[in-house]
Amino acid sequence: MDYINRLENQLKEYMSSSKENLKVKGWYFGINENVSIKAGVKNNQIGGVYSCPKAEEGTRGKVYVIWEDNRRSIASLDSSTLENFNRLVEIWRKSSFVDEEAPQIYKADVYPKVNLFDTAVHKLVYEDQSYIFNILEKYINNLCKRGINNIDASVSATSFQQHIRNSAGLQISNVATSFSTHVYGDEVYGKSYLSRRLIDDGEINYLIDNVASTVEGLKNPITIEGGIKDVLLLPEVAESFIKHYLISNLKGSQVYNRRSAFSMDDFNNNNLVMADHLNLNINTTIDFCQGAYISTFEGVPGGNFNFVEAGRLKSPILDLKYSNLMGLSPTPFPAGKGSTKLYSTKMKTYEELIKEMKDGVIVCDVLGMHTQDATSGNYSLTAPNCIRVENGELKEACKTVISGNFFEVLKQETTQLGTAPYEDNPCILLKSRVTGEK
């Protein structure tokens, strides 16, 4: 806290008139002080030279300054900021810019109560790290028994102190934790867990079982005939589609600057962009969700908001600048796993979706999502690990290329969502062109 108070006081000093052209009119900053521990498995071995245990302590954040002449500065903060403060203020001033549309400092608001801290994760960081190695050993022992030849994995735990302050009197300080793990079998298929809460035995067993059974199902691939087929995107794949094609096009800066698939008119007219049973929600107030937060650094409270409701656009994702420019309220931001949800009023289960597939494939992963043009909605993706489904039954492994337009897919009545246990994201069943590959 000493660092935070001193930083706040230093900034307040620059609000006095004696500072002349360095006089500050307003400011906000956000800081995370974190301590973390991570360990890994590479090629079935715990803690080799590429996956050895790793400890980190750090202080990182961002400061935003409004100068007396209304110029703006953005800069990063770390633990050395205070010792160089006067020199850095001059640098910040020199790197300031004119942004006539930038907002003023946000007045303190009502903030949500959300639990971001798990004592068990904190203890893992500061006291006994054995559990990290126990999980890694469990992955190796269980997956080797299930016929997996090569296991890569990691476990990571972090404990944070988070602070947000601004010149309008906002003072938020809270503790938070983060726990993540991933396990990958035979470099073919992997699963991960990411939360502010420690993983439990049921969740570990699910990861192990899912990896073992999926890798087994992906052995001995065949070549399939192409055509328009049922395609089931597993939750991780569905999540990558949602992030790449929906979230990126919903960002207010993209919409306002005409760099999105959606125009401002699309939002003003609440245009239909999906089937009317589909909704896209961001909720940053779910206890222990990795994407949960109390406030953005700007001071905007976390919240729960439908960006697409009954298939219609409601609002872009808006920070203060773009909420002012577009005359709308600022919104919650997608801040990590679990906060963004595509859901349907006709939600089915994973098993029900499989049963509905007459001739199709389950897509376990895709290569090249980051290379796709998100604004066009077009996708052309290699899916090296698929499982063929015939009349609701899982058959052989296969490799495909899937192609189409995701925006069109979301409008089709044939597109359905399904829930799966232990998963934050839905599976998506859609019709898509599929090309079989060798």
Binding site: V49, Y50, C52, E57, V188, R259, S380, K399
Partner: protein, 491 residues
């Protein structure tokens, strides 16, 4: 960096007391960036960050790592103790030991990149004005184009010190200016243009600035043309790749598979995890080389473990020759270490990576003009005249690299382009589609090249949760014969 002499001495001595060998990495980075959107500055900033990390090795080869951005004695001693404790814990838990670091020769070197324009040559205000002018000049030519112009100038300074007396200081200056273009009509299309290097020459030298403008205008035209272009039919075709896509082929199809830390499962290794040196993987006219080049965006003169980075001939005249290797996995892979290890920042542990990777093809068709001035129709005529294609052949010309991905264990790679021209007397543009192939057969399809080498195809390479600058290229154009294992994933 010299101001840390006393600290380093104390830390090394403390490591000796704890009976561990240390690799200390200190990083100090200055970064300037500017983002301009449609004629207005969106954001600009100047930042300084620094930090230190300690990688500890017990005599038996146990390893632990700790990092902090506080470069002072108290934090350093505490973090060395944590790293040493973790290394000892690993030894007790029977982790895979690695003692290679104990057999290396010490090296002392201080080297600074030779650049024309130092990092602070212009103020950020002056740089902002140049960016705004460029952005406004471009958008004034189009009614339906949104343009983001991005500029970043980084001065990355490193000091790598080891317990054996190694002390390496070097800096890596890098600069990029890029345009992201979004065209809107009934549909939307996005393209990108970039120019990268080490310093402000990109914006201050007229030839560079004109080249960037030419690339940006070409990308704007492409985005507009894509608005009403059809989709390509998927399948295997004879293919022409531009130099940036050829870099993608080298990087994704071969570079990653040749990294020694992944050799145990790489398609380029045998069942014992040893590199298949001597295996024929391409036509004898083809070589693939990775080389750190001064002035290049991905320049890396010394490795993150304090070894000189060597030029690596991954494929020489069609034969697999060298791997991108560090000392920790070179022996197991049966190759020589080449100093290939890199890190995103002091917070990470190094892994073998590419720097600037290129495909060289013997006896390319000469072409005496800039690549930006070569239109698809002209390229088609050059290919016909030189009998690289036949008039009746179906040939696709892929332009504009948009990134890629590889699974070295499965031998699968993909990369994507910005657009595809169906070559002919009248060339027809089609939507981009994924280009996928098998590592072991893709290079065998290369059958020719046009133009001189051009190696400034900039990118960011992701591996092991770390992103590092990458670059590379080839001749202006390379030709791939139709191959059932190399697919364009269209309709």
């Amino acid at each position: 960096m010299r101001k840390y002499d006393a600290l380093i001495k104390k830390v090394i001595a403390h490591g000796e007391k704890l009976d561990v060998y240390l690799i200390i990495r200190i990083q100090q980075t200055k970064t300037k960036y500017i983002v301009v959107n449609n004629g207005k500055t969106e954001e600009m900033a100047y930042n300084e960050v620094r930090g230190i990390s300690f990688q500890a090795f017990t005599k038996a080869g146990g390893c632990g790592f700790a990092s902090t951005e506080k470069i002072d004695e108290e934090s350093s001693i505490k973090l060395v103790e944590i790293a040493a404790g973790l290394a000892k814990q690993m030894e007790k838990r029977g982790a895979k030991p690695n003692r290679e670091i104990f057999y290396q020769q010490p090296l002392v070197k201080e080297i600074y990149a030779n650049i024309k324009y130092p990092f602070d040559y212009l103020t950020l205000d002056e740089e902002e004005k140049i960016l705004l002018d460029i952005n406004k000049e471009v958008i004034s030519n189009y009614h339906n184009i949104a343009l983001e112009t991005f500029y970043r100038n980084v001065l990355d300074c490193w000091r790598i010190v080891r317990s054996d007396g190694t002390d390496i200081i070097y800096d890596i200056p890098r600069t990029i200016v890029a345009s992201t273009i979004t065209a809107r009509g009934d549909r939307t299309a996005s393209t990108r243009a970039a120019l990268s290097g080490s310093d402000l020459s990109l914006l201050l030298e007229d030839s560079s600035k004109q080249r960037f403008l030419k690339r940006t205008h070409k990308a704007c035209k492409l985005a507009n043309d894509l608005l009403d272009s059809p989709k390509i039919k998927g399948g295997s075709y004879k293919i022409i790749l531009d130099y940036a896509l050829a870099k993608g082929l080298a990087h994704e199809a071969f570079g990653h598979a040749a990294e020694s830390d992944g050799m145990k499962l790489s398609i380029l290794a045998d069942e014992k995890g040893r590199y298949k040196q001597g295996e024929v993987v391409a036509s004898p006219m083809v070589s693939i080389i990775d080389e750190s080049i001064e002035g290049d965006y991905a320049y890396q003169p010394y490795s993150a473990n304090g070894f000189k980075r060597n030029k690596t001939e991954i494929v020489k005249h069609g034969i697999l020759k060298e791997a991108l290797a560090d000392i920790f996995s070179a022996n197991e892979a049966g190759v020589q270490a080449t100093g290939a290890e890199r890190v995103e920042s002091y917070r990470y542990m190094p892994v073998p990576r590419m720097s600037n990777i290129r495909i060289e093809v013997e006896q390319p068709i000469p072409l005496d003009k800039e690549i930006e001035d070569v239109e698809p129709e002209e390229l088609y005529q050059i290919l016909l005249e030189n009998k690289l294609i036949k008039p009746e052949e179906e040939v696709l010309y892929l332009v504009g690299y948009k990134g890629g991905q590889v699974k070295p264990s499965q031998g699968e790679f993909v990369f994507n382009c910005s657009g595809i021209y169906h070559l002919g007397k009248e060339c027809v543009l089609h939507q981009p589609a994924i280009f996928s192939g098998k590592v072991l057969s893709a290079l065998k399809s290369i059958s020719g090249a046009v133009g001189p080498l051009l190696l400034d195809a900039q990118g960011t390479c992701g591996k092991a949760g770390q992103s590092v600058p990458s670059s590379g290229g080839s001749h202006y154009f390379i030709l791939l014969d139709a191959n059932k294992d190399v697919i364009i994933g269209g309709e």
